[in-house]
Every structure is written in C-alpha cells, then in structure tokens.
Amino acid sequence: MKIGTHGLLFMAALSLSSTGLRAQVRVLMIANPGVKAEAVTKKEIRSVFTGASVSLSDGERVKPVLLKEGPAQAAFASDEAEMSQVGLIVCWRNLVFSGQATMPQTFGDEPSVVSYVARTPGALGYISTATPHEGVKVLPVK
C-alpha cells in the first residue's frame, strides 16, 4: 500500500511539472491559404479537432493536422480544444478503433506541420507562436 501511495505522488509530481512547461507556450491556428475562413471559434476548433465535424460552421470542409506531443500540443489541447493532451488523441482513436474514421495527419515537429498545411488544400493546424510560418494563413481565434 505504501508503494502505491508513493507511486501516485510521483506520477502527480511528474504531471504537474509538465503543466508548468506548457504554461509558457501560446499557439497559432494556421490554415492552407486556400481556406476561405478569416477566423475560427473555439467551438469550431473543438468540433473539427475531436472528429465531431469535418467542416467549419460556414460548411467549408477542412482537414485537421495534429502534433504528436510537446508543449505546443499540450497548450493547444488545454487552451483551444479545452481537453487534456491524451484526451485529444483518445477522441480520434475511439473513432479509428470503432471503424468510423482514420487518424488525421500527425507530425512530430512543427516545421513539418507548417510545410504540410502550406501545400495541402483545406489543411488546418496549430503551432507555437515562435515557429516560422511562411506560406500559411494565420486564423485568429474569436
């Protein structure tokens, strides 16, 4: 029983330390220049990035692009999608493992996200504000 309690405390400490890192990062929503929308709402972000919808509220079809892990992914999940980092991935995996969808394109680094969004019609992604993002459209969050 003592091992269990210590283990839980250790895991909680690890989790809190990762939360501290996340607080320093802010994210930008980026889209392929062909996307017509000039801004997105948090509701639209949550809907598209959890697989609940394939389009923005004006009906325009978009393709979400995910980061695997890291501070930008954690900040996006918490601040924009309003859920945990793991929760965001689990949403998609629930769709995949029940035979309802495929996973969105997922990248391990932010430059790859910028490059993919720039060349893929309808792509919608997120990066940290410090990442260079030429060739994509920045969408303010309303």
Partner: protein, 382 residues
C-alpha cells in the same frame, strides 16, 4: 493458449515501439493497435469466469486495424481482435469489423460489411480499452463477458450529421440493418448452457436499429436515444430455440467539458426465449431487465484522471429480493497516462447481487451476495 497471448502482445508491443509513439503509415494505409493485460482479484465469488478469488491474470486483449483512405469520400478498413477473459474468448483472433465506408457529405454516409453497432454511449467503443478511464464499463449494459455477441452486425449502416443552426446544435444519426450470430465462446452462451440449453451451432438472427444523438448548443452537452432490435433462431442438441424480436432501447446524456465529465444511461429490455425440447414440449423463459448508471470523472492533472460510477440492474419479472435477480455496483477508478501510448488503470468494485457476471461452473458452492473486486490494467495503444 499462452503462446497466442504472448505472440499477440509481443507483435503489438513491437509495432507500438517501432511506431515512434504514434500511428504507422504506409502510403495511404494506416495501422493502429492496442494491447492490455489485467490483474483481477475478488472476495467471496469468482467473477467473469476467472479464478479471481486467487488473483487472476486471465484477461488479455489486443487489436490491430488497417485503414485505407482511398480518397476524401471512400475508406476501407478491417480490425482484428483478440480476447481472453477467463474461459471465454480463446486462441482465435476474430474480425471485429471489416467495412467499406462512403461519405457522400456530412449529412449522409454509408458503411457496409461487418459494422459496429451504435447503441447507447459506449457500445461501439467498449472493446477499445484505451478509450476510457474505467477498467470495466457498467456490467449491467456493457457486459464484458457478453460483448462478443452485441458489438457488430453484418449488413449496412447509414449515418450522418445535420447542423440545426448556431443556436440549436447538431443532430447525429445512425440507422442499420444486418445479421448477427451469438458468439460460440462468451458468457451469453455459457448462461444458456447453465440453463440446460446446448446449441449445435450458435443461434443468430436479424438486428435492425438506430441511434439519434443531439449535440446541444451548450458546449460538451449531448443527449440521445438508441433502439436495438434483435431476434434469433437456433438448433439445440435436443430441440429448437426461438427468440421473437426483442426491443432494447437506451436513453442517455453526457457532459464533457475541460477537466470534467459526467454521463448517465437508462435501458430496458423484455426478451422471451422459447425452447422446444423433444419429448417435453415448448417452454418460455422471459426476462424484463431495467438498468441504469451514473458516472463522473475529473482530470486531477494532465495525466491523472479519477472517477466513480454506480450502476444498478434488476429483473422486474422476478423476485427482486433474490440476489440472482439484481446487480448493484459502486465503482471507484483511476487512470494514469505515462504518455499518449502507455497507461495504467486501477479500479475497485463493491458489488451486491449476482444477476450478471457470475457463473455456476466456477462458483460450484453457490453465490455469496456481496463481492468486492480490484482490477489493475496496463495497456498501450498506437
């Protein structure tokens, strides 16, 4: 048996580790999988066909799927599933789903093949363990020892989403029709066997149904209802079996926002099993089961989630003071995600009654009314 379990777990572990923490992609092909291993210990009764009073490791699950997104509208995929739960499941790897999916637009799509059944909040995702916090979903409606029968149908499903406007939310629908067969190796067949019904081949029938759910304008709030209908015919070693169409509705609501979630569901089913045994004439066995659950959870940190639920089932057609005719379960649970691939679950159950999940063959001295259970699960998914 052990060889298959080891091979399945090892294959998926290697695939998971090689995937650099995420999915495997080969051109348009995506490959995903998961594996879990549980330790279950109980007081008083053995549970779910395991030798759980002595602590049992006899619960292993794994799955592997391949999807090909041919173009924006057309997708094809298949998922293989391995389950060993006590004496149920087995060495064979089953096809969990295998389908073609054509999404015309967001309003209408069509899936055909072996398709998961959308019923209530969790039927179509209940065999994907990494998808939820609990080690065991409410046994009253998502019986882990019966799910080989209820999960999928061989036929077609129409599905879609209809936006109702900015202030009214979105309506999602699923309507399906197909054939299904009882699994030859799960708790449902074992229950028939303990009632003296031995089938030459597993019975089967038609299962039409639908699900309608409304994502309300309040972010994270969803309400809905499902209706699964099913009938079955089969051949007994000494007669025939007939199950007229039964109606199994479920009504549910869930609220999922930021670190908090809560959900609840109510269902009712009236079912008649007519067996015609040679020499003794027809006999009718009926049940009138009502069940519900309420659950909630909270992310204490980004990686640590805790929650609790209560579920209750009773057979209204029989004596409700008899523990054989009811099941109540208080559950406390926790889940820790080491990263997006690996996780650990711990769960405690405080059970009163034995209407579901308990079997005579591994409780030969009879059932105690109360059972406490502890479950620890380690799993990974990619």
């Amino acid at each position: 048996m052990f060889r298959w379990r080891l091979l399945a777990a090892a294959a998926l572990a290697v695939a998971g580790l090689c995937s650099a923490q995420s999915d495997v992609e080969l051109g348009n092909l995506q490959i995903h999988g998961f594996a879990t291993q549980a330790l279950v210990a109980t007081s008083h009764n053995n549970y779910l066909s395991m030798d759980s009073r002595n602590g049992s490791l006899a619960w292993t699950e794994a799955a592997l799927n391949v999807n090909d997104q041919v173009n924006d509208r057309l997708r094809a995929g298949v998922q293989f599933h391995y389950t060993r739960l006590g004496v149920f499941g087995g060495d064979d790897i089953s096809v969990d789903w295998a389908l073609g999916d054509y999404a015309l637009n967001q309003y209408f799509g069509l899936r055909a093949g072996k398709v998961k059944i959308r019923w209530g909040l969790y039927n179509d995702t209940q065999d994907y363990d990494p998808g939820y916090m609990w080690s065991l979903l409410p046994e009253t409606m998502y019986a882990v020892d019966w799910r080989a029968t209820d999960l999928a149908q061989m036929g077609a499903e129409a599905y879609g989403k209809v936006p109702l406007g900015e202030h009214l939310g979105t309506m999602s629908y699923s309507a399906y029709y197909g054939n299904y067969f009882y699994s030859s190796s799960d708790g449902l067949m074992e229950s028939f066997k303990e009632e003296g019904l031995n089938f030459t081949t597993p019975p089967g029938g038609k299962t039409p149904g639908f699900d309608l759910r409304w994502a309300m304008p309040v972010s994270g709030l969803e309400v809905g209802g499902s209706l699964m209908m099913y009938n079955a015919t089969g051949t007994l070693t000494n007669g025939t079996f007939n199950q007229p169409t039964a109606f199994w509705p479920a009504y549910y609501a869930q609220y999922d926002f930021k670190k908090f979630f809560t959900s609840g569901q109510y269902s009712k089913v009236v079912e008649y099993n007519i067996s015609n045994i040679a020499g003794s004439g027809p006999s009718i066995d009926g049940l009138d089961q009502r069940a519900w659950f309420a659950m909630g959870g909270y992310h204490l940190t980004d990686k640590l989630e805790a929650g609790a639920y209560y579920t209750h089932l009773l057979d209204a057609g029989h004596d409700n003071s008899d523990p054989d005719n009811y099941f109540r379960d208080w559950v406390v649970s926790g889940r820790y995600d080491f990263n997006v691939n690996f996780y650990l679950k711990m769960e405690g159950h405080f059970i009163d009654g034995n209407a579901v999940g308990f079997y005579t063959f591994d409780n030969p001295s009879g059932f105690a009314r109360r059972t406490n259970a502890g479950v620890v699960k380690l799993g990974f998914s990619f």
